[in-house]
Symmetry: C2
Subunit: 196 residues, 2 copies
């Protein structure tokens, strides 16, 4: 149910089309929340039906069209309410830790491949998080700049600091996963030496 709040968070900065939102979701915002176009378009329609957003249809060339979505007062209210309310945590469900708990059932080579893939996966994520952090510091993220323009001067620091805070948390998590998998590799080595 957080998809609509992710959409509202972006749309509150300024009206955008489904297509633009989808681009955001595969780039910057996609680091904290991902959604494919096939999920975005129907959700926007539902939100429009519920009065959280309003559409503005624009023509593009002769026959092309583009539908911009604006956040309504009700949408703004819904976002603020969500921000101020309790967050529900999903149940724990992690394929990597499930597999790790039974890793003696895998060949040592497969166990190593799994851990190397885990490291590669989180190194990729880490690179994106760190890239985002340097964009924040350099004020070179276009979304953030646009957001700051529509933010009162005395709230700009908070906007930047909380964005940093979120991405630092993500980077820390990625580093933790990498360190864990490295310890796992050492463990596989130790156990397969012991067995031989």
């Amino acid at each position: 149910m957080s998809l609509r709040y992710a959409l509202l968070a972006i749309l509150r900065v300024g009206p955008q089309s489904g297509y633009e939102l989808q681009k955001q979701f595969s780039l910057s915002v996609g680091h904290v929340w991902h959604a494919p176009d096939s999920q975005i378009y129907p959700e926007l329609r539902k939100m429009a039906a519920e009065g959280l957003v309003e559409t503005e249809d624009q023509t593009r060339g002769e026959r092309g069209m583009r539908r911009l979505y604006h956040v309504t007062a009700a949408g703004d209210r819904a976002f603020i309410d969500w921000m101020n309310g309790p967050l529900d945590y999903q149940r724990f469900r992690d394929p990597a830790h499930l597999r790790a708990a039974y890793l003696e059932s895998a060949e040592p080579a497969a166990a190593r491949a799994f851990l190397h893939a885990h490291i590669a996966h989180w190194e990729g994520e880490l690179a994106q998080f760190e890239g985002e952090l340097s964009h924040i510091d350099a004020l070179s993220n276009p979304m953030l700049v646009r957001r700051l323009e529509s933010t009162p001067a005395d709230e700009r620091e908070a906007t930047i600091e909380y964005k940093r805070f979120a991405y630092e948390g993500l980077a820390d998590r990625a580093r933790g996963e990498i360190a864990w998998a490295r310890r796992g590799l050492a463990l596989v080595d130790r156990l397969s030496e012991a067995a031989s």
Copy 2:
């Protein structure tokens, strides 16, 4: 799709009924994977239809019944193949970090409440992970003991060490989340002082 592998992992230790599996999912194994009964019963039926498990019906008292599930050779093969194959990572989707990135939109009190709730949530998880770790060390986890009984002596160390490894990773993650939220609380304090 990992649910069935979680079920196979448990059933490989010994045959169990849907009810017993559901108990496991709300206790020990539930730390790495959770599933409600309404998902377990249908999945077991599907797995039986695909030949991964076999049923053994038992009577309980006069009219009661109990259906035990055994892993078949095909089920064992499927589990081993899953363990040796690549793992697919889900896209990132984290309501807590989404909210953190826009925390300036929340009242300072609500921001603090969110972070305190985050700490409380992960402290609860951490306590469970640490409890599990001490059960592993004391060999007082009944599932693990049962698993070790059906494990050749030379693989017992690996079974224990990988289980430790998985839970240490989970505990580290919980500690990271707690540390992150504490830094968030300090940030809220700093920013609300600056504003006043």
